[in-house]
Symmetry: C2
Subunit: 341 residues, 2 copies
Amino acid sequence: MTRRVALLAHEGFPDRAKTAVGVLRYADSEVVAVVDREIAEADPDARVADYVSDVPDAPIVGRVADAPTFDALVIGVAPIGGGFDESWRPDVRTALETGADVVSGLHYFLANDEEFVRLADEHGGTLRDVRQPPDDLTVAEGIAHDLEAEIVLTVGTDCSTGKMTTTRELYEAARDRGIDAAFVPTGQTGIIIENWGIPIDRTVSDFTAGAVERMCRERADHDYLFVEGQGSIVHPAYSAVTTGILHGAMPDSLVLCHEAGREAVHGYEEFEIPNPGYVAELYESLAEPVAPTSVAAGALNTANLATAEAEAALDRYRSQLGAPVADPIRDGPEQLLEAVL
Amino acid sequence: MTRRVALLAHEGFPDRAKTAVGVLRYADSEVVAVVDREIAEADPDARVADYVSDVPDAPIVGRVADAPTFDALVIGVAPIGGGFDESWRPDVRTALETGADVVSGLHYFLANDEEFVRLADEHGGTLRDVRQPPDDLTVAEGIAHDLEAEIVLTVGTDCSTGKMTTTRELYEAARDRGIDAAFVPTGQTGIIIENWGIPIDRTVSDFTAGAVERMCRERADHDYLFVEGQGSIVHPAYSAVTTGILHGAMPDSLVLCHEAGREAVHGYEEFEIPNPGYVAELYESLAEPVAPTSVAAGALNTANLATAEAEAALDRYRSQLGAPVADPIRDGPEQLLEAVL
């Protein structure tokens, strides 16, 4: 995606606009504007740099019509349930009328929307629903461990613990060192950034491992594959997807992602997150009969902590895992990369 | 399904016609004929009793046109890949022309076949594809352990170790004792037998646990739910489905199903099946953070062994699990039922 994009993030930027922030941080695109009417109404001169550091700056505008020229509009925010918010329709319409593409990771498929299909046809744009898996998936053959590439998988103690970020940081740091590495995305943000990949949570359940295996095969000519994990094996709803990725990717090493201070499963507060050391052992035990691996490092999200607290949390996490740990954003990914190379 | 059925099982009866045998053994239907041209050509007087004991007898005929009157034709055999074998078309056509329904657990959906749709319309029959999940599934809420029903889940060391049979035997034995029990099927044979259920291996991967949870809720007014497991957590391709069922059903107890003498994963011979005791502990460890449970009993399939060998295999299995074990077909399900009540 070496092109100009606008990021739709109404009422969500930056904290509830994971995809928008991911694209700003990692995609090979020029972001011409973030579209968030709440921010733009409060401050017509608002800019990305006021909200997120270490990413290219861009204006924040109230509607797509106010954005500089772009080639694609990316839906950068997801309401609970993944539906399409009808209040976004004028913005998507405007984008399509300029001939731009629209890229979406929503459960609601733009390609099933009559008006959008018609506008895309009329003006030459493309509707790209990244959450639609290919229709020729099949079961895993159990061969990922035979691939020559070294496979590194991020796993988590919960959802939203930084698996996509950690994977991408490791991948970029490896490339900066001149390593022939590939990024294997499994969720909508990673797929939008990479402009390739299969949304693992939307495959037929029997093909979960097979879909990951297929992606690893497609990138097997690289020396290192950094595979983005999903969910957690101790999650009451999403553990099936996590297990399929673990057994389908057959990783050589794991990086366990955790958010400092999080004690309960996000959105399922009744469920305690066990000690991360226990979770690490559980990943290893579950992998062992299929393809043995071990947790080589731990990534800790300390974004909500002051420096001294973050240091203490990292020390605790290091002793829980008995492995090198770092916050890949605060500390950079170098220590984690060293541990998996 | 208190009605007359014919079972299509060309070249597969009985060993490669799991669904046909399941319907014969467990369904509340009168089987008027098994259709297997290979058997019927070799012996025009062949009967079910020559091949399977302890099920109601019926003639084996070479084509559907030779079967006594029936209300539904059940596709009772599945080729590798789950496709529709075109050599069956005349039989399905004949069934539809008599006004009968056709029930299928194939991946190939009869409802997408123009000729079958037309014939069903013309003659008033119904095409029932049990492998099509409902389209309103969603993620699990993590509430199955709050249901008042006691939930018993069968799990396995591999696919095809007797999970459906064990679940059904436990359910029927419980009913025979006057216990208010329900059977929760998760695969095509069980769904055809029960005339209800969701094919868990065909759901969207994110909804695997949610689909099982939904079935448990729908049957929660019973005292005991016997939930049919799928695959194995040590299977390189199907472990995602297994994990989703384990965490979605949140069972009070597990029955571990194993086939005596099987040492490698069926169809994935490179992968050794670990000691069943290790597999039992792995199920317990994986369940523990979400909803603790334990392996209360072991079901051993000893169909391929002589009596003395079977006894030795049961002794070995008992010591591996440290729990009561039995072959639910050879010994009956009573000991297993005692262990989970």
